[in-house]
């Protein structure tokens, strides 16, 4: 058992490393192929910067060297733990990511938990009541959500909850104009609710629809029929048979949704001016800030990969058949 786990982790780790290297190379190649010129992106629309200064900028940031040489120098320094300096922020990449990741993480974890729980519960209700009014209502709700653009939903939430009802602050993670030492935890909580809610709403639909599908399949199986015939109450059917059978795919889906979560934060952070990693991704891509982009790519890969790894591990905990190393269909 122990040996199997060790082997499992070693395998996963090697996979992660190869994936990381491949991803770095691909990102770099894609950036090279993109028409974005980092010097122009850096200068922006200014007509005050002439050709001579542009050459100086390229030299300062090492942009005038051939691509292979640039990649190798970036690669050797990152192996030594130096992530480079962001062009946009003019500070070390790790410092930028560190600052931004913490606030994104809080946002994402709240949204993740919320969407998982709400989506799962709604999915089970819809699946059991398949075809009934509750099911139709939940499905309609999910379909509307799935086709809703995040930024639009964000603005809508601001208009309703922040402006009309005045329940929550409009944007940002701290109160406006208040000194850091005067900001309370309650302030921070009230600032995170609306963006987290916006973000979670989008995950709900996905989890809910998949769970519903699975539940309705299970409800049609022989063992449910048998349970019904035995006279089990619908409550006990749900808790004893449905939840157990549905939880495995739901967990997988929930952990796989890490990547979508990451994508969603980009929009949410934009709308709510929330100082997270999402906005940094967009900027670093658009403005050709290679060190920062590569840094974020690495961090997000590790993040998403961890999500998948946890899902794999939970399988083993939840399903004894996988733990025993059995081949199951």
């Amino acid at each position: 058992m122990k040996r199997i786990t060790g082997k499992f982790f070693a395998k996963k780790f090697i996979k992660l490393i190869t994936l990381l290297i491949a991803l770095c190379v691909i990102t770099f190649v894609l950036m090279e192929l993109s028409p974005i010129d980092p010097v122009t992106a850096y200068v922006g629309a200014s007509t005050k910067v002439g050709a001579e200064q542009r050459a100086l900028i390229a030299e300062h940031w090492g942009l005038n060297k051939p691509p292979v040489e640039r990649f190798m120098s970036w690669f050797t320094s990152i192996i030594q733990g130096d992530w480079g300096t962001s062009m946009i922020y003019r500070r070390p990449v790790l410092e930028v990511i560190g600052q931004k990741f913490v606030s994104s993480l809080a946002l994402m974890s709240i949204a993740w938990v919320l969407s998982g729980i709400i989506g799962f519960v709604l999915g089970i209700i819809a699946g059991i009541k398949e075809g009934k009014f509750a099911d139709k209502l939940i499905c309609a709700y999910c379909h509307i959500l799935i086709s809703t653009p995040t930024f639009w939903l964000g603005i809508l939430f601001i208009m309703i909850f922040a402006v009309k009802l005045g329940w929550f602050p409009v944007a940002m993670s701290v109160p406006i104009g208040v000194l850091a030492q005067d900001v309370s935890l309650l302030d921070k909580i009230s600032h995170i609710i609306l963006p987290a809610l916006t973000l979670s709403v989008l995950g709900i639909a996905n989890i809910c629809l998949h769970t519903r599908e699975k539940v309705s399949d299970i409800m049609k199986t022989d063992f449910i029929l048998f349970a019904k015939a035995r006279g089990e109450s619908s409550r006990s059917i749900v808790f004893n048979h449905v939840v157990k059978n549905v939880s495995l795919p739901a967990i997988t889906l929930q952990f796989l949704s890490f990547s979508e979560l990451f994508g969603g934060t980009i929009f949410v952070e934009q709308v709510f001016s929330y100082p997270g990693l999402g906005r940094a991704v967009v900027q670093s891509g658009l403005r050709g800030d290679l060190p920062l982009l590569m840094g974020i790519v690495i961090i997000s890969l590790v993040f998403v990969y961890t999500g998948n790894l946890v899902a794999d591990m939970l399988y083993r905990v939840i399903d004894p058949r996988i733990r025993e190393g059995l081949n199951i269909q």
Binding site: R90, V163, V174, S273, R279
Partner: protein, 534 residues
Amino acid sequence: MKKTRIMALLLILALTVTCFAGCGKEAKETAREERIAKGELIASIGAEPEAGFDATTGSHGSITKVFFSTLFKRDKQLGWTNDLATGYQVSPDKLTWTITIRDDAMFTDGIKVKAEDVAYTYQTAKDSGSDIDLTMIDSIKPVNDTTIEFKLTRPYSPFIERLAYLGIVPKHAHDGKFKDHPIGSGPYKFVQWDKGEQVIAEANDNYYGEKPKIKKLTMVFLDTDTAFEAVKNGSVDVAQINGNLASQKVEGAKVVDIPSIECYGVCFPMVKNEGKLAQDGAVMGNDVTSDISIRKALNTAIDREKIVSGVLNGYGSVSTTGLEKMPWLNESTVLDSSEYGNVQAAKKILADGGWADADHDGILEKNGQKAEFKLLYTEGIYRQEMALEFVKVASEIGIKVDLKKTTWDTILPDIHKEAVFYGFGSGDPSELFNMFYGGCAGGPVAWDNSGCYNNPAVNECIDKALNSRDEAEAIPYWKELQKYTSAKGDAPYCWLANANHVYLTADGFSFGKPVVQPHGGRIFDNVTEWSWGK
């Protein structure tokens, strides 16, 4: 049983939330009044300087003026006036600029601003490899505590622009932490920066200039739509918005629009396509737009007033020169309202130029060449709408214009062979060099004179202007060249409109008398005049 439990839970939740919120709302309504009473302001204007507040490693545009003083600044008539400087002198060979500075200016840490701080600021900026072009400076030397000498590599009359560009940083406190905790000699003192969100500043009591009326200034960096909502609910007092949002009425707030030189226009390729290549390999020239009657006809046909009222919602002004309100505008080149928006006159120009619709397909031809070209535009407010209007009017006079959306990166292969939609207006006369100098055509910076205009008379004027002693001496030359570069001359551009900068401000707030805003804005230049009017 189960249902009642859920109901109870929901009720508790609803109660807590509304309680939270209840207090919140009450507080919000009085929050602004409280700010007014204390002379505080929350503004959402412009973008955050992500790299920090270090003037030596990047320009921050207008926001520099909050914490820092610059040597010179534009006055309300767009001439020059002193800020930290008390004057300048240019040597007879035009290569040495000697600047004197005032001796009563203090950094917010209580230490006096000296010439060596100025020299240090410029030297560091020059060496920083950032978007501040100081390549014309040869050396910088502090002569004494209040005098600095700049030696230039060549005569450069717009040099004073660069002297109005950098916020002066203290040499003694300029370390690694400076960008997060700036120390300047401007009207405000830095208090706090929450990265990605807000900067808090308080009035600098030791400021040498007019004391700011707003005692505490909080600058937040919000999305335009979000900022608009934030003004509505009272958590922000001033927000930069756009003409499209301005039509919505907001209780307790009003729309303020400030005239700008943010000018939009279409640049035409000026040479025939003979397969000549620019330095980066892009083909130069267009056989249709290189015909002057096409360019003149479009300039005559486009109804600018319609663009101002339709696209800009009235928040703007007509432009036929791209230089309205600039001291170096040549008034004689301005088209008056009878000289544009005239489709019949435009048709006549085309007919006189030899363009006719022989095959009756609605598109003119000349020598077998159809009157059609592409108009490339990029992402940005108003741009698509204006370009669409341009296309529509062009079709009325028999010119087919295909609109194509692009980015400033992907535009490069086509930039010299199709018409390009630009936004200009830096409020600096040397921009005319970037736009019209023949030597720039097809050079290393693709959008400098992207239409490949090359008129020896214009080149000569630009050379003379740049070689002048200073801006005052250069202005006659800048004016002179517009005889050729205007719609009345060679018409290398079709200028459309200036878009005002639109703000939503809480009732009672006043910007004072802001200067005409260039592309990118200059709103913080008169930050000391901002007030809750009383």
